[in-house]
């Protein structure tokens, strides 16, 4: 009774759409993308600012513009169906997917392969424990962004932003443009977790003060936020008594990190990585479960959507080849481990075959550093090195190991960043 899909894609954001397009290019004939929102595009739909697409589409686009580009690539493909307003409840290891939709009801879909592209979610107030009252006026930056950009309302008039991640910085500018007063951006780390261009374009250009090594230690107001207490923190991020000062505000926006959305993956039983909080994947973005692939922010949180698309194209290609039975069998499995100075590295392992292929590694540095040498070691030998003028935990580093070098690899790989 149930039709057989080549690929079911869970999530219709940039990762899901890019994966679908790549799968079509690589021969898949029957693909369905399941998206929970009313239209495809994911979180990009609420990111109305520009700065997207410089790498992937070689031009500067807004978030909805980028989403539209991804959608345009597949909208006329008879191979791809995009089903919106649809929530996936379960994915089973036999590639059966249970989903619901108001019109079609409860659906049981069967595929040869599944690609997980659920994206990520925001960390909340609870996860960081701010003392004080619990009034209205405390929102995650992304929730407020949706209300401002898609629903057309503002969260308040005097704003403080906790966390200098990119969404927080973008929202500082957005609220300023809406005529609100952004009183301050607070960051508990001694450095910002946002892109440098966002610090310049979103804070400096609007004279918004950034307090590094500061956090909120109290929220005032019973029904609605009336102000906050701020403290300086020591090098272990503990508030320093005596450094408290108050800021008047009616709104606190939290931009305190993103977490890959992996509830479905966890229930499915695929291996997750403790540092990335996403599935452990090989260079084809295949997870620990055969035929289940993952790409984009569900694997590890990206700072550029361009890299999300790049990664999703890999997943789409190899999911298609697997569905068509054309994937070459691997003959060796090499671990890729972050060494000194590297916090995370994706993929976590390489399953190499006799067909040589180029492999791209995506890394995050553990600390901000200037003038560093990034080296890729295997079996005590340096496979590659790269000198970088500056590295920051907030900016993902991508390095490609060319095909002729991967062909020669036979030992586990370590990636490290050291002062040059």
């Amino acid at each position: 009774m149930s039709e057989m899909y080549d690929i079911i894609i869970v999530g219709g954001g940039p990762a899901g759409l890019s994966a679908a397009h790549s799968a079509v290019k690589n021969g898949a004939k029957k693909i369905i993308v399941l998206e929970r929102d009313r239209e495809a595009g994911g979180i990009l739909q609420q990111c109305v600012h520009n700065g997207f697409g410089l790498h992937h589409f070689k031009e500067e686009l807004t978030g909805p513009g980028y989403a539209q580009r991804c959608y345009d690539l597949i909208k006329d493909c008879p191979e791809v169906e995009v089903l919106v307003d649809t929530m996936v409840l379960e994915v089973h290891d036999n590639k059966e997917v249970i989903a619901v939709n108001p019109e079609r009801g409860l659906m049981k879909l069967q595929a040869k392969t599944v690609i997980l592209t659920m994206g990520c979610r925001e960390r909340t107030r609870g996860a960081i424990r701010i003392p004080g009252y619990r009034p209205a006026g405390v929102y995650t930056a992304g929730a407020a962004q949706r209300m401002v950009n898609m629903e057309g309302y503002i969260p308040g008039h005097k704003i403080v932003i906790l966390g200098s991640g990119d969404i927080g910085l973008i929202m500082a500018r957005r609220m300023s443009l809406e005529g609100c007063k952004v009183q301050a951006v607070l960051e508990i780390c001694p450095f910002s977790n946002g892109l440098t261009r966002n610090i310049v374009q979103c804070l400096n250009d609007y004279d918004i003060p950034l307090y590094l090594s500061h956090t909120i230690t109290g929220i005032k107001g019973k029904d609605r936020v009336e102000g906050i207490t701020v403290s300086k923190v020591d090098d272990k991020m503990r508030p320093i008594p005596g450094t408290e000062f108050d800021i008047e505000c009616d709104t606190v926006l939290l931009s305190v990190g993103l977490i890959p959305e992996n509830e479905i993956s966890r229930e499915l039983g695929i291996e997750l990585h403790p540092r990335t909080n996403g599935p452990v994947v090989d260079q084809h973005r295949e997870t620990s479960m055969t035929g289940i692939f993952a790409a984009g922010n569900v694997v590890h949180v990206h700072d550029l959507v361009d890299f999300v698309s790049d990664e999703a194209e890999i997943a789409g290609k190899y999911a298609a080849l697997t569905a068509l039975g054309k994937n070459a069998a691997s003959d060796r499995d090499l671990a890729v481990t972050p060494g000194a100075g590297v916090n995370t590295c994706v993929p976590q392992h390489l399953r190499l075959s006799s067909e040589s292929e180029a492999v791209r590694l995506f890394m995050r540095a553990a600390q901000p550093k200037r003038k560093v040498k990034l080296s890729i070691m295997s079996g005590g030998q340096e496979v590659m090195k790269k000198i970088l003028p500056v590295v920051k935990p907030s900016e993902m580093i991508s390095v490609e190991i060319p095909a002729e070098k991967t062909a020669a690899l036979s030992d586990d790989i370590t990636v490290s960043i050291e002062e040059a």
């Binding site: 609870g126 009034p135 209205a136 969260p155």
Partner: protein, 488 residues
């Protein structure tokens, strides 16, 4: 005078306060041919002590024999065993421990057991430490003995208050929220009317179930015989993953004079909490949580359960106990005729609520001779819970109402259908937190990050109000505003 109630209302009984006590009384009175109105100053019921307490249905060995607290506790506990099915309440009869670490503590356990037996608590036993740890293996190795009370349980207090209110409303009672009492008119020593922010309500009887404000309400009628001081308790709530390293039931330390102490306790939803501490306050609105309080709670809880997984804490909250100057519940007739007190309801108030309700109703029925309602409806409307259905039932429900095919809260798998039902059912949700407490939407790991804007939109649509009129919880807890120049 303002609002839709400007035409003078009349009632046989006005109940002041929509907490567990007020709603239980309303539900009990609704069994009779009496015109009953409940007034609540907040936008939703259960907005005070009822929403932030230990959620325990106590066995009844704590309070002095013969006190209202002892009598109402033991009777109330028995009544919950009966009401559980009728009102579809969320209760787990886990039993409870009071644990002792030394000989003095063991002596106290024996005293509690003797007192409990005098109070009529069934099944009390003293267990040695090894037997206690067999049931709760994560408890401290230093525990010497414990008092085991098999009739104790845990419940979902908001759900219980909601159940009482729904049952009352389907039997003709009225619940007015956002309706603050501003005065009580007394004529010739008898109550005549309740003045509210929505206009006066004429009343033959007024029941004072106003929680921490019960002394103020009583004083409005001229009865200054007691005061109520808020005693704050702070709590920390843990993720469901914490239960396996903590407890599956209720564990108290040996009690002190003012409090049952900082406990470690499971919730009906599978979480665990620790707390509360006890701070005497003057401010009846101070629900702030403090760093010092958190430290105190963690230190207290670690004595009982040494491995507390701090990283699994998901939220902190505080509640106010309504402690009366008499030390006991203040129940029954006031010197002002027609005014009935249900005041000073601190622990074991949640457990006592159905017994207090019967006590108050008996007085009114005895004096008025009101008869039982011929058309009395038991229970409350059923509510489909999507996530608990099998695939076939899910498919059938979506076919009947397509709103059940749209998941709004991903974390807890809550459908639009359930949210619409929560708003439109008797005494339905009016606020974002009201939706959360009725359906769990927004209670999961993303804490409303994804579903929050959608819940606001559904509230706006179903209540016929604009988005800026949607509130989080409190009277003035507006969440979003019109953009500058966006009006018209």
């Amino acid at each position: 005078m303002k609002g839709i109630y400007s035409m003078e209302r009349q009632a046989d009984v006005v109940v002041i306060g929509g907490g567990i006590t007020g709603t239980a009384i309303l539900s009990e009175l609704a069994r009779y041919n009496l015109r009953c109105v409940l007034v609540e100053k907040e936008p939703d019921i259960a907005a005070g002590t009822t929403k932030a307490n230990s959620a325990i249905l106590h066995a009844g060995f704590d309070a002095p024999t013969g006190s209202f607290k002892a009598k109402m506790n033991v009777k109330g506990n028995a009544l919950y065993h009966e009401l559980e099915k009728e009102l579809n309440l969320d209760i787990k009869w886990t039993g409870s421990f009071v644990v002792a670490f030394d000989d003095d503590g063991v002596e106290t356990l024996k005293e509690l057991k003797t007192r409990g037996e005098a109070n009529g608590v069934p099944g009390l036993e003293i267990w040695d430490g090894a037997k206690v740890r067999e049931k709760e293996p994560n408890l401290s190795k230093d525990i010497k003995a414990a008092l085991w009370a098999p009739t104790a349980g845990i419940c979902w207090p908001f759900g219980a208050a909601q159940a009482f209110a729904e049952n009352a409303v389907i039997n003709g009672a009225e619940v007015l929220r956002d309706c603050e009492v501003t005065g009580i008119t007394v004529k010739d020593g008898r109550v005549e009317a309740v003045e509210t922010s929505e206009g006066p309500i004429k009343a033959k009887y007024v029941v004072n179930a106003a929680g921490v404000y019960a002394d103020k309400i009583s004083a409005m009628a001229g009865d200054n015989s007691f005061t109520v001081k808020p005693r704050k308790g702070e709590y920390v709530l843990f993720d469901k993953t914490a239960q396996k390293s903590m407890v599956s039931g209720i564990v108290f330390p040996v009690p002190t004079k003012t409090s049952k102490g900082i406990l470690v306790c499971a919730t009906t939803h599978g979480n665990v909490f620790i707390g509360p501490n006890a701070q005497e306050l003057d401010d009846k609105e101070d629900l702030s949580v403090t760093s010092a309080g958190m430290d105190e709670i963690f230190a207290g809880a670690r004595k009982l359960c040494p491995e507390i997984p701090g990283g699994a804490a998901i939220t902190e909250f505080a509640g106010l106990r309504a402690a009366s100057s008499t030390g006991d519940f203040v129940l029954g007739k006031s010197k002002v005729e027609g005014l009935l007190q249900a005041a000073g309801i601190q622990s074991p108030g949640l457990t006592s609520a159905p017994a207090i309700a019967q006590y108050i109703a008996e007085i009114i029925v005895g004096e008025t001779g009101a008869e039982k309602r011929g058309d009395y409806k038991k229970g409350r409307p059923e509510e489909p819970v999507f996530r608990e259905l099998d695939d076939e039932a899910k498919a059938a429900l979506i076919k009947k109402d397509s709103h059940y095919g749209r998941i709004i809260c991903r974390c807890e798998t809550i459908t639009e259908g359930e949210i619409v039902d929560a708003i439109n059912r008797p005494c339905g949700a009016r606020t974002v937190d009201g939706v959360k407490r009725r359906t769990r939407a927004g209670m999961g790991r993303c804490q409303g990050g994804f579903c929050g804007p959608r819940v606001i939109e559904i509230l706006s649509r179903e209540l016929g109000i604009s988005v800026p009129e949607v509130r989080k919880d409190g009277v003035k807890s507006y969440m979003y505003y019109e953009k500058e120049g966006a009006a018209e």
